[in-house]
């Protein structure tokens, strides 16, 4: 399972990076979203999958899944949401100011 997951994670990462190479800023935004998914899944996979019960003590199972990666991922999801919200508004404002979503057009050559 972990090996197959790793392959999927690699695919997710590759597509995310490819999207971030785009000229269109919206694709870049979606790329960052996929990138964070792949990172979350890596963290989960590293610890090993499907080992024991969910990390809830009242289940009184013999063994539990590693709770630490889950805690890290939870933090990451929330932070990522904050960043996504900020960046999407930034994209919106950038378009309002420059009337363009093309990153090639937006590069500043003026103040070099």
């Amino acid at each position: 399972m972990e090996i197959v997951m790793s392959a999927v994670i690699g695919l997710l990462f590759a597509v995310a990076v490819y999207l971030m190479f785009s000229r269109n800023i919206l694709r870049v935004l979606i790329g960052t979203l996929l990138l964070s998914h792949s990172v979350h899944l890596i963290l989960l996979t590293m610890a090993g999958l499907q080992r024991g019960a969910p990390p809830l003590l009242f289940l009184e199972a013999g063994s539990y899944t590693d709770p630490l990666p889950q805690a890290l991922i939870l933090t990451a999801i929330v932070i990522n949401f904050g960043i996504t919200a900020f960046v999407s508004v930034l994209v919106y404002r950038t378009y309002q100011e420059h009337k363009s979503v093309d990153l090639y057009d937006m590069r500043g050559a003026k103040d070099e």
């Binding site: 399972m1 790793s6 590293m46 610890a47 999801i77 949401f81 904050g82 404002r93 990153l103």
Partner: protein
Amino acid sequence: MTLLHIAVLAPFLFALLVPFLFKYLRKIHTGWFVMIVPLVLFIYFVSYLPTTSDGHTVMKRFEWVPSLGINFDLYVDGLSLLFALLITGIGTLVILYSIYYLAGKKERLNHFYVYILLFMGAMLGVVLSDNIIVLYVFWEVTSISSALLISYWYTKDASVYGAQKSMYVTVFGGLTMLGGFSLLYVMAETFSIREMIAGSDIIMNHELFLPAMILVLVGAFTKSAQFPFHIWLPDAMEAPTPVSAYLHSATMVKAGIYLVARMTPVFGGGAEWFWIITSFGIFTMLWGGISALRQKDLKAILAFSTISQLGMIMSLLGAGSAAFYYMDGDNALYTTAILAAVFHLINHATFKGSLFMVAGIIDHETGTRDIRKLGGLMTIMPISATLSVIGLAAMAGLPPFNGFLSKELFFTGIMNVVQYDMWNGDTIGFILPVIAWIASIFTFTYSAIIFFRTFRGKFKPDMLPVKKVHEAPIGMLISPIILVLAVLVISIFPNMLAYTVIEPAMMSILPGILSEGSSFYVDIYHWHGINLELTMTIGVVIIGTILYMTMDKWSKLGIYQKEQDIITTVYDYGYDALIKGSQLITRAQMTGMLRDYLVYMLIFIVGLMTYTMFRFEGFHFSMENASDIDLFMYVILATLSVTIILLPKVNNRMTAIILAGFVGFLVAFIFTVFRAPDLALTQLMVETVSVILFMAVFYHLPNLTKDNIAPLTKSINIVVAGMSGLMVTFVSISAFTYGQMTPFEAISQYFIENSKSLGGGYNMVNVILVDFRGLDTMLELLVLGIAALGVISLIKLRVGESDDV
């Protein structure tokens, strides 16, 4: 912290006061206060004279970084005391002179005197430190203060150019020297110069001996303006004249001489040291002499003359290092060279200092230093003219002045090389005295040019910027007069310095070659009978005079017309190429496009990871312990893969958002399968809100279009993306496999066991977040808060029309 330490630090401490003195006591010239420092220090250092002339030394320790063996150790012996006296003595006179030289109301005296004091303290530190790391620190401070002083009139382009050049050259040398010092430490395992001298046998036979020596010598040569590093000194003449007299003739440029003298016991005694120093020194002497002839600016002539004289002292130190080969006590065969070096060092400081000051006076009173415009000043400025005559005669080596005495000793010392029966001294050594003699002719000629072109000839008032030319005020003349008096006193009673200063200095440069209890015996006198040296001097005078007489003829030659040093041209080209080259690299790399930056970063990371995996066998692969795969997971993962592969191809914004949202929900599903209910819940929430947010934002944006990317760029993108994905897969597999292999217990066990007892909760993930790692979560909230503020200000706040975005 002893009185000696305070003496070294006193200029730095006093420098703190200078801005206040300048601001609140404007009626009195700041220089008067500053002058107290070197004067007191000079008197203090004079009190050490009896100690050193008895052959004793003083060592004071102040621990700085004792664990690394770096201590602020001060060491007073003959050599360092000689330099300390020069620094404080000439320093006093220079500051006195500067009071009149910088008398203008608009001069930024607070800057000037802070820099001067900075330099003075650093220079004292260089010559008194026993620890090479401390010495290095002070060494660099002298470079910095020198650059600051050169750019004192920073609105002039030439000043800035000169300051930059001196900074590049001397700091380059300083760093090289630090490399040499590190190698010395590797060899001797100490930073103390005295301990290195004691262990010089180990250093001499070490394989790093030659590299260390060359690196240290580059430092000394850059500082002392030896060919080909001399190019910064002429441009340093843009500094105010007191600075030129102080730093760029009497003290700072002699730091390299000091270092060579100080390191002679460590490195000396081998053919490499002898030949490198002697040949570079003698060639610099010749090069400086030839270049000085071509200059039309008084200070430029003096600058090249300083280069030439420094080369002369350097070559003498090289010749004298033979003492460590023979080790047979006070043998005049080579100790004469060291004697000449020390004696000329003192003489040069006296006559060159006074000459610079007179050049400054001429500049100050006439408004120009160009010898083509000057002339006939003898009757108008009689005192300056007299001072010049004496200084120039001493520089040209005319009897009975002190320059003559040291020049004779120089000829003797350099000719003795022919009698060395090793290092090819007896075969090709004869070339040294020949070059020395030719260079001395040039010295005589440019001395003649300075005098006759400035003070004799026709007075050309219409070519001078200043209309009413008269003699300088008496205050300005005091310092050169004192220096010229010193020239005269040394000329008449040369042995006055022998016992007090020269012999102790020779003891420091040549320690350990004398038998116990004996000391050097120095006796300098004028008349040696008609010998080779005197004949050489006579020859110098005759040919030099002929050369001056025929100046009108050879001054029409092309080589004379071109003033610029060939090495300076090389430097300028190199400097331009450096700037252009770095701009080229920067432009190629800083394209302003996100895609390029990402590509560079990813290629680097992938490369690094690949290297690491191969180098440290980081890749592990094992199917053991891997969990089973349920059938439905194949379906889920296949759906996920197809969705993400489709994403880049979608050109409709709404489809793209929905697909991205779909990926998010699938990830939430995977979380559920893998026993992470909290994650699944959070992911569902966040994904829902994100999709709504995207809908809201994308609604206002134009629809997606097909990316118009060049085919080559596109294929590079695909390759880089694929490589990155592959790397992530490998990292993930390795991390998992390696995690299963290691015998360590996961730290998670602690959380599993304690979340009830310590955190009081059943949901371990929640307990970790709010309890064990509570502070992290709080800061996470802070991040969210900042993001929210950012969102609000982006939407609400508007930049006004006039404001630049």
